[in-house]
Structures are given as C-alpha cells and as structure tokens.
C-alpha cells in the first residue's frame, strides 16, 4: 500500500523525533522564538545533559538549528523538517474540514430559523 510505504520512509526522522513528549515540549517552546539552552533547561525542568540529548536528536533530523552567540548556544525551530508530519495529517484534516463546511451550512439554516421565531 502506497501510503504505508510513504509513512515507513519517514519514520526514521521527524516522526521519531517528535514521538518523545519532552522533545515535543521543547519544540513547543521554540515555536515562540529562538531560545538559549539555559532557558530551555529552566522551562523543561530536566537536567542540562538530558535537554542537550533531546536537542541533539532534534538537530539530527533538522527540526531545530543552532547558532553560537557569544557564550550562548541559541536554538531555533525549523518547521520545514516537520513537514512530513503535517502532510501525513493533512488528508485527515481535510476530511474534517469538508465535514465542518457542511456543518456551517446547517448552522446557517438553524440561525435563520431561530431568527424567524424571534430568537430564543
């Protein structure tokens, strides 16, 4: 099956990287902008070596990039690397989007009916 193959081809990278809750937490923090390692350690509540280990996994799949600024190492989110996950979810999302578009039509009718009744 084609979709299973497509899925298997990507499990080695972004999918595995975000499978760990702490790594997802780090990604969430980085979604708010570039952060120094020390900041991340404080917010995640793990020891520095563990945070560094998670950051290494994320770097290996390209989910984050790092740059040196003086004595600090600053991490930044790289959304492009997470695209396989987005693509995987998108068809499921589209199914619901189409269903909700129909629900909009139903709600419009209900609002009109309620208006005709002089409100509720």
């Amino acid at each position: 099956m084609i979709h299973r193959m497509a899925r298997a081809a990507t499990t080695a990278d972004a999918f595995n990287a975000v499978a760990e809750p702490r790594r997802r937490q780090i990604l969430d923090l980085l979604a708010g902008g570039e952060r120094a390692v020390n900041d991340l350690v404080k917010d995640v509540g793990l020891a520095q070596p563990q945070v560094s280990k998670h950051l290494r996994v994320l770097r290996e799949v390209g989910a984050v990039t790092v740059r040196e600024a003086g004595r600090q190492r600053l991490y930044r989110l790289n959304g492009e690397a997470l695209k396989p996950i987005h693509d995987w979810v998108r068809n499921y999302e589209r199914w619901w989007a189409e269903r909700f578009d129909q629900l909009d039509v139903v709600l419009d009718e209900l609002k009109k009916e309620e208006g005709d009744d002089g409100g509720k």
């Binding site: 979709h3 299973r4 979810v89 999302e93 619901w96 269903r99 129909q102 629900l103 909009d104 609002k111």
Partner: protein, 167 residues
Amino acid sequence: MTVASSGTARVTLPADDQILITREFDAPKHLVYKAWTDPVLVRQWWHANRGRVTVAEIDLRVGGTWRYVAVTDDGFEVAFHGEYREIVPDERIVSTEVYEGAPPSADGEEQGTVNTATFAEADGRTTLTILVQAPSKEVRDAIIDSGMEAGMQDALDLLEQTAASLR
C-alpha cells in the same frame, strides 16, 4: 446564500495516542450542539460532501448508542458506531467510536477510541474541540492513515474525471 468561512479544521497530535481537532463556528453553541446531536441534521453534514449519509441513529443518553453510515459517490461505505459515556447538554459529549471496517485487536475486542467533544462559546461564536483518545499509537496512526486513503481516493477520482474528459 453563501456562508462565511469560519476557518478550517485544525488537527494536531498532542500525544502518541491522541488526535485533537478544533474548529470555530459562526453560531452560538446551543445550535452547534443541536447540529451535532440531531440525527436529521447530522445527515446533512456528516457526509463531508463526498456522498450521502444513509444511517444516522442517535440515542442521546448515557449508555445509549449511536451509529452513522455514509456511502461515497463511488459506492464506498463507511460505518461507525459507539456509546455515549457522558452528556452535558450544550457543553460536552464523551462517547466511544468504533470504525466498523477496522480489524479487532488480538483478543477479539473492538479497537475503538474515546472522543470528547467540547462546545465553548465566546461572542456568539463557538469553538468545537474534539479530543480523540486511541488505545494505542498504532490505532491512532491507522485513523490518520484512513484520512490518507480518503485523500488518495479523491486523487483517483480526479484522475478518472480527467481521463474521461480526454475521451
């Protein structure tokens, strides 16, 4: 009459065994709740414009069951059923959901999810949140994969139409 688009569905994966679906509607929550729980109304939207709903049974009480069946335009039938676990009118519905085409688990049990639908209103608009709790990552992934299949089906349909137009 055209309907102002209230935004598209947003699907995220908060945990390995969960799916979170959110959408805002330009309507108060009692109407969204009504459209969600009235079988006559469910028939009008649940088909996602890909076919028609042939069965919409709702026994809206704790312990009551529901069952929806839709047939796509190309004859593919999908059926789901479940049971209501918790009902707070206009606020919250917790129910189980089993896809009737899914294989049972090794011990022969149905592999269902527990879905929590929450209706939250602000300024006359309602945010619907559906948290899908799967029994495992495998079941969760299979659900997402089923969306992939639907997407592929669309692509094949388009291909067929395009091919037909070339005749």
